[in-house]
């Protein structure tokens, strides 16, 4: 335990030194504050960004609603909403298709050539089409995010099913498993380690795509906000927004890690 604290403390040294240099450089006027604001200014802006924009008014709504009405929180919720919906749509289509493609050579042969052509197209390249098809707002963003999540989950699900050890299939057949039991209780769980690593990559891609799509097609969200800040030359807000994006990404990653640990508690490779 003491070791852990010491490790964490030693991990703080480099950031603290960097922030100190940064603060020093700005207080000595070595850099234009328009280009690089001081860490202190960024922190102040971040707090302002996170706090409610109007004073508390009991008549307008509950205290909680007021406390959460800050711009940062609304942006974060908007971004998270798009990531979640887009991911659920993309992964929700990829998972069953991947399971079927993985287990049926015929279905694989039907879909694989098309997918191999579509897969290398970066989700961002779908932006023009998505705006033509869906206009502005959430729909094109969700469309793009779901494309970003779709391929990693699909590819890993196929690989997961292909890599199911034949010994499990034999054992299940020996126990008299029907086709559906084999699918749901043997092949699917055996493929879960692969599927989860696909999910992780898919969430990562979705997170990249959500920021880009907010910059282009949406009027709120963290990606929109930092681009908007640039138009007003609010470099402190740009950096505050970027830090918020970083923290949100970290939270998503930690949550995914916990989910992984729980779902793969039976798995050999994850014993630490």
């Amino acid at each position: 335990m003491t070791l852990k604290w010491r490790e964490m403390a030693s991990g703080l040294v480099v950031p603290i030194v960097l922030i100190a240099i940064w603060q020093g450089a700005t207080s000595m006027d070595w850099v234009n504050p328009q280009v690089l604001p001081s860490p202190w200014a960024v922190l102040k802006k971040w707090l302002e960004y996170a706090s409610p924009m109007t004073p508390y008014d009991a008549a307008a709504g509950s205290w909680w609603a007021w406390a959460l009405s800050g711009e940062l929180l609304r942006d974060t919720m908007g971004t998270m909403y798009r990531v979640m919906v887009g991911f659920v749509v993309g992964a929700g289509l990829a998972l069953p298709l991947g399971l079927v493609m993985g287990s049926s050579a015929r279905v694989y042969a039907w879909f694989n050539p098309l997918l191999q052509v579509l897969r290398p197209i970066p989700p961002i390249a779908y932006i023009p089409l998505s705006i033509l098809w869906f206009g502005l707002g959430n729909p094109p963003a969700i469309f793009l995010i779901s494309i970003g999540a779709f391929f990693p989950v699909l590819m890993n699900t196929i690989a997961g099913v292909h890599h199911v050890d034949n010994i499990y299939i034999r054992a299940a057949r020996n126990l008299g498993a029907s086709q559906s039991t084999m699918f749901l209780r043997v092949m699917l769980p055996a493929a879960v380690p692969y599927i989860l690593s696909g999910v992780r990559i898919g969430i990562g891609t979705a997170f990249i795509v959500v920021i880009v799509s907010e910059m282009i097609a949406v009027n709120n969200g963290l990606g929109f906000r930092i681009l908007e800040a640039r138009e007003y030359f609010w470099s402190d807000k740009i950096i505050a927004g970027m830090i918020s994006i970083g923290i949100l990404g970290l939270v998503i990653d930690v949550a995914m890690n916990q989910l992984n640990k729980y779902l793969l508690r039976w798995h050999r490779g994850l014993d630490n």
């Binding site: 010994i167 499990y168 034999r170 054992a171 299940a172 126990l175 043997v186 769980p189 050999r268």
Partner: protein, 268 residues
């Protein structure tokens, strides 16, 4: 369904040919065996003698190229829970707890929940696994895993148990321990067991009947009854006489295997 009491498993003129890229391998040639109910049979031979091929044919994983296998009064066409298999690699489902591994077959059969619970806890007790009920296979030693695999097959109450070098990966002490346990279970439940091994001592220690197989093509070289009383003493004179006799037969086949490999190496 006709149940033939005198032969629980009847293997008639079974041949198995594998076609590889450049040649045909005759894995089994004209195998004829009658195995009565409750007999403990060991298939013994060097690797490549077709003993696992024969076991897989009885299990229904790879059917013979010709000939028939009748088990439990029906011709073997596919794998089924009436011929439970214990694999050398355990083949436990790693995502299921010990308990779930054992109950899986019963769930497939559509047993009632209370019946499953009762049966599983009985088996856990029988194999000394009660403490490990909620563990995952990754947390068990090889010996414990093989106990679970045996319990999984016993849960189905299949009259025939097929065992493919089940204790091959275990250390000598664990192995002896499980051998004794299996003998105890067998004498209690009276199952027909076909047990593949390449250990001469294991075959003599366990079996009512040892079938020595030849290296390619796999045929029955010797079919011998072991009538030593159990538990057998591997250091007894009669045990050692058998060991010498069977050891010679197996080594002849091992030598053929070796020569064959040398020949292939020269051709290459």
């Amino acid at each position: 369904m006709v149940t033939n009491l005198s032969s629980h498993i009847k293997i008639s003129s079974v041949n198995k040919v594998f076609n590889t890229a450049d040649k045909e391998v005759i894995a089994l040639h004209d195998i004829n065996l009658d195995i009565p109910e409750g007999q403990f049979v060991c298939l013994l031979g060097p690797s490549g003698c077709g003993k696992s091929t024969l076991l897989n044919a009885i299990a229904g994983f790879a059917l013979p190229s010709s000939g028939t296998i009748i088990a439990n009064g029906e011709e073997v066409k596919e794998p089924g829970p009436d011929r439970g298999m214990v694999f050398q690699e355990y083949a436990l489902f790693p995502w299921m707890t010990v308990e779930k591994n054992i109950s899986f077959g019963l769930e497939i059969k559509g047993f009632k929940k209370t019946d499953i619970e009762q049966r599983v806890s009985h088996l856990l007790q029988m194999l000394g696994l009660s403490e490990f009920r909620l563990r995952y296979p990754k947390d068990l030693s090889g010996g414990m895993r093989q106990r679970v695999a045996i319990a999984r097959v016993l849960a189905l109450d299949s009259p025939i148990m097929l065992m493919d070098e089940p204790f091959g990966a275990l250390d000598a002490l664990t192995r002896r321990n499980l051998q004794d346990e299996l003998l105890r279970i067998w004498s209690e439940l009276k199952k027909t067991i076909i047990f593949v091994t390449h250990s001469i001592e294991e075959a003599i220690y366990m079996a009512d009947r040892v079938i020595v197989m030849t290296y390619r093509p796999g045929t029955v070289k010797k079919d011998i009854l072991i009538d030593l009383p159990r538990l057998r003493d591997p250091s007894a004179i009669a045990f050692n006489a058998l060991k010498r006799e069977l050891g010679q037969l197996v080594m002849e086949e091992q030598q053929r295997h070796h020569n064959e490999e040398l020949k292939l190496a020269v051709v290459d």
